[in-house]
């Protein structure tokens, strides 16, 4: 590969990118918009206190508490519905009482009470729930510790490490900025094929590998540059910057591969935009799981961008290390290698 050739192609592609008002508009406005969203979102956590409860037999003291103390408790018909509601993030916790609670207390025993928390619950919430159950127990039996609690976290266990909404949005926004460049790259390639300029390039001694390298570098540069800028401005590199950087680089390579595939499988810029939006929406879906834990089921793991957003989220927001996200990074790297390989093969056919 000749570096002078790659440099000439990069210079040309960048000039075309800059001279295209549409690309520039979506790039600059998009970046400003996402940074704006981050700073507009609240930096504080929500403190709303709503409880869910499954109680086949409701102890009288519990009814008094809800009526007199104003604690907002929603009762559920079964334990599974309660768990799902907690998992969906509708309640700060869910309390499941055993059906024979009154009988156990009457016999002087300690009933087992299960408390379900969403993964976003704070340590303070846990303390409040225990205190509440203690008070209920006292009101009903005259003894504070006439119960045993089992605590279960629904979704990834992040108890005690709840973060503000805007920080939960940060990985989603960073990854979205990165993925938007799929469309920019695919459009640049599609225009070259449509206008026949790619044919003019390929009639020169230029090797197709040099063309791919130049396009790849441009795509990685645009995607990585913007996502790094965003993360730097919103404090996303405060923890483990190397892991985040490595993840964003691999993610950018994945974006380039998908861009190649998109350009090779579509007919023109219009179809790139149409199909590109669909791809973008699909790839963004796992990101919502970082904003609302538990929102996305396990099926989202088949979408490769899951490993990108999940890694950025766990590292930037929860301080995860190489060991914690190593598997994620390997899966992402393998997928990126596969998609760029497939993209190059497909695009080579399109060029020919």
């Amino acid at each position: 590969m000749k570096t002078s050739v790659i440099k000439a192609l990069l210079k040309k592609d960048f000039a075309l990118f800059v001279s295209n008002r549409f690309y520039m508009l979506i790039t600059i406005v998009g970046l400003v918009f996402y940074i704006g969203i981050y700073f507009i979102l609240p930096a504080q956590m929500e403190e709303e206190f709503r409880l869910g409860m499954y109680a086949p037999v409701v102890p009288p003291a519990f009814n008094q508490l809800t009526e007199n103390e104003g604690v907002d408790i929603e009762f559920f018909a079964d334990e599974e519905s309660l768990k799902q509601a907690v998992l969906d993030g509708d309640y700060v916790a869910g309390i499941a009482l055993p059906p024979d609670i009154m009988q156990i207390w009457a016999e002087g025993g300690k009933p087992g009470i299960t408390v379900y928390y969403p993964s976003t619950a704070t340590a303070e919430i846990s303390e409040v729930i225990v205190a509440l159950v203690k008070e209920l127990s006292y009101a009903q039996t005259g003894q504070a510790f006439k119960f045993e609690t089992t605590e279960e976290i629904l979704g990834p266990d992040m108890l005690g490490s709840q973060i503000a909404l805007r920080d939960r949005m940060r990985p989603l926004l960073a990854v979205f900025i990165l993925l938007v460049e799929i469309m920019t790259l695919a459009s640049l390639i599609a225009v070259e094929i449509e206008q026949g300029t790619a044919r003019a390039l390929l009639i020169t001694p230029l090797r197709i590998s040099e063309l791919f390298m130049a396009k790849g570098l441009l795509g990685v540069g645009l995607a990585l540059g913007q996502s790094i800028l965003f993360m730097a401005l919103v404090g996303g590199f405060s923890q483990q910057p190397l892991i985040i950087l490595a993840t964003l680089i691999i993610g950018s390579i994945m974006a380039v591969g998908i861009g190649f595939l998109l350009a090779s499988l579509t007919r023109d810029v219009t179809s790139v935009t149409g199909w590109g939006m669909l791809v973008l929406v699909l790839l963004t879906v796992p990101g919502f799981g970082t904003v609302i834990p538990g929102l996305i089921s396990d099926w989202a793991k088949i979408i490769p961008s899951f490993y990108l957003t999940d890694t950025v989220s766990r590292v930037a927001n929860y301080g995860a290390g190489w060991g914690d996200v190593g598997v994620n990074i390997i899966v992402l790297a393998v997928f990126s290698a596969l998609v760029i390989w497939a993209g190059m093969i497909s695009l080579r056919r399109r060029y020919q």
Binding site: T197, L201, P205, R207
Partner: protein
């Protein structure tokens, strides 16, 4: 023209059931301008695509400057220039940037974009975006782009199609300059007059095959009608008389004509390449 720049042997290409190029054979000498004539769909562009490495021949072979176009595609491409039929320039870039990009891709040392643009009549517009150029200017820039690497063989695919006479003449002059430089030129065209004026030899292509190949002069001799046409005064008007040049008493007939009639004009009647094409293929070039 001592050696051949292009040698084509049994070159064939099919698009599915359609044989676009059907076992054609020809050679083009170094420094020669070869015209490739034929109507749309005759197989001209497919031939150019194979010769420039854009399509892989399905049968036969071709060598350019002694190099096989399939086995040494990159080396061949370094020595050729191609001007496409369809305009395919980077319209958002300036003319100078367009040429500089291709000069960098070819690795042309000491490339002077200003001088090349001046040659094609685009001096003073070097830093204008191509999107603001007229069709003729774009075509001249396309020709200029095909020259950035000082190619030994230049493929020009319909370079003057749809152009005004000034632009056509400018391109014609560049072709002649390049011939003088020693380049071999492979010109595909619909324009009989252009081919007649510029080409050393022309090939008539029809339905994927070469129907005739020779110098325009020889083709005219072979297929044209050798006759003299005289216009003579007849009352208040003119009357035409035709005298065959191959009849045994041609000299006598001419003498008698001048003796007995008032001859206003007299000239030989030559067949045009268009006439010959129709005679050879039974089709018109532009249908």
């Amino acid at each position: 023209m001592t050696e051949n720049s292009i040698i084509v042997e049994n070159l064939t290409y099919r698009y599915g059931e359609l044989t676009a190029v059907d076992h054609i054979n020809f050679e083009v000498g170094a420094g020669e301008i070869m015209g490739f004539l034929g109507p749309n769909g005759a197989g001209k562009t497919t031939t150019v695509k194979m010769l420039t490495g854009q399509l892989r021949p399905q049968e036969g072979k071709a060598t350019l400057l002694g190099r096989d176009i399939v086995k040494e595609t990159q080396a061949v491409r370094a020595e050729i220039g191609v001007c496409f039929e369809q305009t395919n320039l980077y319209e958002q870039m300036t003319a100078l940037d367009n040429l500089t990009l291709f000069a960098e891709l070819y690795g042309t040392k000491g490339f002077d974009g200003y001088a090349l643009l001046k040659r094609v009549g685009l001096a003073g517009r070097e830093k204008d975006k191509v999107s603001g150029y007229s069709k003729g200017m774009k075509q001249r820039l396309m020709v200029a782009r095909s020259l950035v690497n000082k190619p030994k063989i230049i493929f020009l695919d319909e370079p003057t199609a749809g152009l005004d006479p000034v632009s056509s003449e400018a391109i014609g002059n560049i072709i002649l300059e390049e011939r003088d430089r020693g380049a071999t030129i492979f010109l595909t065209t619909h324009d009989m007059w252009e081919a007649d004026k510029l080409c050393h030899r022309v090939a008539f292509m029809d339905k994927g095959k070469i129907a005739a190949l020779d110098t325009p002069h020889n083709l005219k001799l072979l297929y044209g009608k050798r006759a003299l046409v005289a216009e003579i005064a007849a009352g208040t008007g003119l009357e035409k008389r035709e005298i065959s040049m191959d009849a045994p008493d041609t000299a006598h007939d001419i003498r008698e004509l001048f003796k007995k009639e008032k001859v206003v004009t007299i000239h030989s009647e030559e067949a045009t390449l268009e006439d010959i094409f129709i005679k050879v293929t039974g089709r018109r070039l532009i249908e």
